[in-house]
Symmetry: C2
Subunit: 267 residues, 2 copies
């Protein structure tokens, strides 16, 4: 019988790590145990191991576990090497200046949208508090445009995992409704969020596709129904397209500076 987790011991340990992170607050061992599939000593050892490895942090005063600092270090590397953020940075700066609205850069993680960067028109950026956040794929602009351009196996797989929780009266509430919408998006090359996630919040979203057609990520410009409407947002499509093209191009040419002997450098 195939295990849910797969990937042996390492997969199980990472499952525990996710479980802790999902709590959103420091948790006690017993709380984890209560909702864990693992027997007590097994879970105990995983938690011990992860704590040793600084993947979890243990607060002896409160006797709680939370995600460890080692993750912050690793994520810095991930953000820098794997995400579109470093290549896209200057392009979304420019985009946000032109459109004067909030701009998001996102990628897919499992079946969710992972926000990688954000420009809050005008405001200085508060990065870490935003990047790393996840959102639903089926009811966000960036989510839908990315789904629309996945190959159909991958798309099916992701669609299957959507919750179709109804946030507003415009939320797409079924796989069929979503598939229809994805067809439209494929036709147009871009998509909207029509107050599907939060009332009064609308956006235009544009996929970032590689030359070979792989989905690299997505961009969106967000606004409110009090300031504009879908037609108003649609006017941004050319500049969004242009920005997406530039990011695509840079992402493909990007080659990492070879700092072979990297002694730790000044922050």
């Amino acid at each position: 019988m195939a295990r849910v987790t797969g990937d042996g011991t390492v997969g199980k340990a990472l499952e525990v790590l996710d479980q802790v992170a999902a709590f959103g607050r420091p948790v006690r061992f017993s709380e984890l145990l209560a909702q864990s599939a693992f027997p007590k000593p097994t879970l105990y050892r995983f938690v011990q191991t992860l704590t040793n490895q600084q993947m979890l942090a243990y607060d002896p005063d409160r006797q709680t576990y939370s995600p460890g600092v080692r993750l912050v270090r690793l994520a810095h590397a991930a953000w820098d090497q794997t995400t579109l953020a470093p290549v896209a940075r200057r392009h979304i700066d420019a985009l946000s200046k032109i459109v004067g609205e909030t701009v998001h850069l996102a990628q897919l993680d499992h079946a969710q949208v992972l926000y990688i960067d954000k420009r809050n028109a005008g405001q200085p950026v508060e990065m870490y508090s935003q990047a790393g956040k996840v959102g639903p794929a089926y009811c966000t602009g960036v989510g839908k445009v990315m789904l629309a351009f996945l190959d159909s196996d991958a798309a099916d797989n992701v669609i299957e995992q959507q919750s179709f929780h109804v946030f507003t009266e415009h939320t797409l509430d079924s796989a069929d409704a979503l598939r229809a919408e994805l067809n439209d998006i494929r036709e147009n090359g871009y998509g909207f969020d029509r107050e599907e996630h939060e009332p009064g919040i609308i956006c235009v979203a544009m996929p970032i596709l590689s030359d070979t057609g792989r989905v690299l990520g997505a961009l969106s410009v967000t606004s409110t129904t009090s300031r504009t409407n879908l037609a108003g947002l649609e006017a941004f499509v050319p500049v969004l397209q242009d920005t997406a093209d530039k990011i695509k191009r840079d992402a493909q040419n990007w080659s990492f500076p070879d700092h072979t002997s990297k002694e730790t450098t000044r922050i």
Copy 2:
């Protein structure tokens, strides 16, 4: 014979993850193999597992691995729940406004200094590019003040792992020199970086200690020898102390808002 890694299979897998992250750029399997202690099939399986788990990302076009996006999501949770950043935010904002110099907030990760937040006097913040960076503990202000207040077993362990690479003519170049310095710091309650890491760069650093005496992190105010000197920086000690106390207090009272039914929320 005790393994270096310890922590069984999970520890080994995480060692591989670190190895990939340390490269600072996408790497091929063969590059990893060349510098790995693991035999080919073992390393191969670890890389496979980690990729399945999205802890690594595989680029099929270039046939390279890099740290995966799952880390970004996990780190968001870590930054939010485990680090001092969210509690310290308003205090370091205030501090940076008062002193008008660059302010750092750091914690220890393994034997290194991990920068958690930063205020770049005046400039708008560019967070992600900075938070997550690591630096040496033996030649930075924040590193030394944290070491000084660790209990002696932990300190010994960390000191043992320092490279004592000589960056400038003022860099402490031995465990003995460092230990002497740590004694002074323990006496005073704060410490300096006397151009030990980079010529012309100096700082005052203050540990953030819990009521029970545990090291929670450290704060520093950084400047240049062209703008001020150690005596000038020492004038900031009272306000640094005050800020550290406030962060300590808030960290201890901090209780996480209980969003039990956390549907994904807007970014």
